[in-house]
Structures are given as structure tokens and as C-alpha cells.
Subunit: 298 residues, 2 copies
């Protein structure tokens, strides 16, 4: 299976490294020749260029579009003239509804994809072959998706040691709104609220006393602004749904405190403690793949 | 300086271990004889009992009340008959306004204290001598506080390798509402909101896909319910102030997303990224004391 990767950032670069390691012929298309140079030096790709037209002579069987979300459809449109009829195309965008239907119109062998992996550092320098190990890799087939396209992507997901999770684009977008996009806004709101404290002595004290609890709760709200903006723009409706539901929960907590209904507040906190444990990522004995462990999970 | 510690849980036990290590004579009062046994076995104390009256013959110069917050004043009242006139008394409660004025009425040599240290595990089993190393230890003198009482507590803070931070009870309570009590409610609200998702397929998917971002943002909301309740009960007014301010920030973020004012949302996220970096706990090169490092910070 010859694989082309368009966009050699953290995700594209890591996919290239892993697939090359597994013995697949991999070609890359980078935004700049400097990126291509680095991808070649790191042994991520066996060939690299900056023009989509260069893919024609490599004749890939699978193309992975690893550009930012708002460039996926234009990149696919630009690719179409250089693809042979059996080429499967996928993307790695974190929102699927705005992509999957129009991309499938442009190219019938398109399958939406979203590897649930990342790190704070960006770019090909931060890429690592083990980034996807044991992580969920969402695939979002729709009614028009061709079975052979889905099969090729499942092979690729297994090749990067990830776990394929199939769902429809709408459910994917709502689920990531809950666990990825809402937390960014919740956390950003926390930082914004503390920072507008009017008494400079209290603000200074708050900064001095902040410990691991504040650090963890505020971390994703202190992240890269453009990523938060991209989530909100492209998953606006699902995010608004979660924001409204979240605010209703918080108002309820506020009311319980206001009216000193302590037994009910205790019940809420007992339920959140139990619910928290329902998330595999929060279970104590989970293999810490995303902490850089070398333990294989499969 | 002879030191008595009443309440040998995580904080009391850790103070006892460190002060004994530094060569101070330390006596303990535990809730049960099993706790006393463990404190003696770990070498945290040189003597231990379960009755406050037993302190009379040890004649401590400093008594640290390390009970849960709602037992501090009754414990102090119970102690008074057994104290000599020069004994300094302090507590370790996480809220100071409801404690400091009435405690100073009961005992003029009282000083409010709050060591900013903790961990998920509770009890004397989890105690460690290095728990306070490099961490802030808040002291909250008021107008009536005796200078020799404050001086004794500053010596003790230095002895446990912590950094003394002096402020008044009201500012302390507002600052910890921002960085400790509000994050618990913000985080609990997040778990509560996700958990009431009506589509079981989306809820299952959300749990499956949740990664480090969700784990960190939800961690303190999944903590011990009684601790969250105690914070809300004893710091109710300061917490309500922060909850209202937080909700105003979140409504503003919601409005920007609703009305697609992306430039303004980007500005908000740029500011929160900058503000986040103003917190020493978030700075990358900080010595990670609270991650269990052995590096000395002073």
C-alpha cells in the first residue's frame, strides 16, 4: 500500500514516521521545502515535494490529508486531478460534519478520520512514531462511503497501533464537543474570571497560591488560541449545545450553594466522583500511553 | 520548641514527620489509638494519645490543630484548660475567616495558618516529610494577633521548608476561592454536563475518546465529595462571588460563538493564554515539588 501524506506537521509527520517504520512506501507533501528537508532527514518519507502535482508519479493508493481543518476541502479539490480512480483519501480533522459529505461528493473513495492523539508541541520536529499507540482513531463512514475505502483505512489504523472507532460524523462532533472543545472554553473562562479580580493583592495572592488543582483545570484554556478558535468555528453548533447544558449545571450548583442545600450539593459531588471514574482515561491502572510510556497495549 | 499536633491525618502527620526530622520534640493527639500506633511506628511523634488532657504533661509551646475545618473551634475550646499561658496555637484549615476571629477570642496567642500542600491520598499512611517543601504556607494575622505568636509560626514554617505568605483572612479566603474552590465547581459542572448527554451512543463515545485534556479539566471535580462540600459551606460567600464572575465570563464566550465574532473570541483566547503564564505553577521551568521531585528549592 503506497501512502501519501499531505501536510507534515505533528500528526502528518507522526503518521509518516510510523508507516515508514512499518515498511509502507510513504511520500510527503510539505508546505515548505524546509519541512520536506526535515521529513527526509528524519526518515519519515522516501520522497517529498511542495506541489500536489508531484503525487501523480508516486501514484498513491491512500492519501492522508493532514492540513489544518479549513484547508481539507480545498486540498482535496486540488488533489483530484492527480489521483487514480482507486485511490482512497482520508483526513485527520478534529471536526467531521463540515468535511465528510462535501469531501465524499468530491471524491467517492473518501473516509473521514480523526486520530485522538496530540501533544503541546507542534510541527514535524515534535512528530513521533509512537504517537497513536493504543489511542482511539475515529473513522466516520456515511451511507455513500465505499466499503473498500473503509477497509483500507482500518488497515492503516491498525498499522499505526491505534484502535479504530467507527461512528457517524454528527455523533463524533457532539462527543468531541463534550470532551475536547467544551473543556477548552470551561478552562479559558476560569482563567478569564480569575484575571479580572479587581483587588491586586488578591490577584497576586491567587497566582502565588495556585497549585496543581488550578494548573490542571486551567491547562487547556491556556493553550494555543488558534486551535481553540478553530474548534469553535467548525464545531459551533455542537459546542453551543454543550456550553448551554454546562451553564445549566453550574447554575444549579450555584443555587444549591446560595440556598445552603448542602445534602443536595453532596449528592451532586458524589455523582460527579462516580461519573468521573466511568472515563477510561481517568482509571488509575490505565497504561499511560499519552504520557510517553513505552509499554505496548496490544 | 515543643510542638503538639492534634489530628494526625495527611497534613498533621506530614508536619509531625518533618518537625521530628528537624529535631523538635513532637507529641501527637490522634482520633483513634490505631492512628497513634501508626504515628509512633513511622517515627512521626515521640508520644501520642487520644485525649486532649494528655497534652498537659507534655506542656507544648506550639499546638497545631490539624483536624477537619468544622472541628477547629471545638478542638481549641477543649484544649484551653490544658495550655500554659505562653502556648501558641495555629490551625491548618483551608478557610480562615470563620476561624481566626473567634479562635483569637478563645486564645489570644492564636494565628491562622494554611499550608498549600496536599495530595489525593489521605491519612497518616500518605504522610511525607517533604510535603511542604517550597510550597506557600499562608499565615493570617489580624490586629489582635500577638507578635510572638506570629514569630513562632514563622519559625515553624521555615522548619518544614515552606515559604511563609502573610495576608488577612478575607483576602486569603477570596484567593483560595479563585484557585481552589471555584475550580472544583467548574470541573464538577463539566462532569455533570457530559454525564447527562441523552444519546447513549454519544455518551459512550465521549467516554471512549476522552484524553488528557478532559482528564485534567475534570480531575478536581471528580475528587472527594466531602472536601468539595466543606469548601462550599465554609467559604460560601467568596465562592459565590467567583461563581458569578465565572458565569459572566462564560456567557460572554458563548455570545461570541453564537454571533460568530471570531476575532473577539481569538482575543479572549490570546489573553487567557497570556494570563495562564502569569501563574508560577504553570511556568515550565518551575521545580516540580508537587510532582514528587527530590530537588531542593532552597
Amino acid at each position: 500500500m503506497r501512502i501519501a501524506i499531505v501536510g507534515l506537521g505533528l500528526i502528518g509527520g507522526s503518521l509518516a514516521l510510523k508507516l515508514t517504520e512499518k515498511g509502507y512506501p510513504v511520500w510527503g507533501i510539505g508546505r515548505t521545502s524546509a519541512t520536506c528537508q526535515q521529513a527526509l532527514e528524519r526518515g519519515a518519507v522516501q520522497g517529498c515535494g511542495t506541489e500536489l502535482a508531484q503525487l501523480a508519479r508516486f501514484d498513491p493508493q491512500v492519501v492522508l490529508i493532514c492540513t489544518p481543518l479549513d484547508q481539507v476541502l480545498t486540498t482535496l479539490a486540488g488533489l483530484v486531478p492527480y489521483l487514480s480512480a482507486e485511490t482512497v483519501v482520508s483526513d485527520v480533522g478534529s471536526v467531521k460534519q463540515p468535511i465528510v459529505a462535501p469531501a465524499t461528493e468530491l471524491w467517492p473513495l473518501f473516509v473521514g478520520g480523526h486520530p485522538m492523539a496530540g501533544k503541546t508541541l507542534q510541527g514535524i520536529q515534535a512528530a513521533e512514531a509512537g504517537l497513536f499507540r493504543g489511542r482511539p482513531y475515529v473513522l466516520t463512514p456515511i451511507a455513500k462511503t465505499q466499503p473498500q475505502a473503509l477497509a483500507a483505512m482500518k488497515e492503516l489504523v491498525a498499522a499505526v497501533d491505534a484502535e479504530a472507532v467507527c461512528t457517524d460524523p454528527a455523533r463524533h462532533d457532539q462527543a468531541v464537543a463534550w470532551i475536547s472543545h467544551l473543556p477548552v472554553m470551561v478552562s479559558a473562562g476560569l482563567i478569564a474570571a480569575v484575571s479580572q479580580e479587581a483587588d491586586p493583592a488578591i490577584l497576586h495572592l491567587a497566582r502565588t497560591l495556585a497549585s496543581s488543582g488550578f494548573r490542571d483545570t486551567s491547562r487547556v484554556g491556556g493553550g494555543i488560541p488558534q486551535l481553540g478558535l478553530e474548534m469553535a468555528r467548525h464545531n459551533r453548533q455542537a459546542l453551543l449545545t454543550t456550553l448551554r447544558s454546562y451553564q445549566a449545571q453550574l447554575r444549579q450548583i450555584e443555587r444549591l450553594i446560595e440556598s445552603e442545600r448542602w445534602d443536595e450539593l453532596l449528592l451532586v459531588l458524589q455523582r460527579t466522583q462516580q461519573e468521573w471514574q466511568q472515563f477510561p482515561v481517568n482509571q488509575p491502572r490505565r497504561v499511560p500511553q499519552d504520557l510517553g510510556s513505552d509499554i505496548h497495549s496490544r
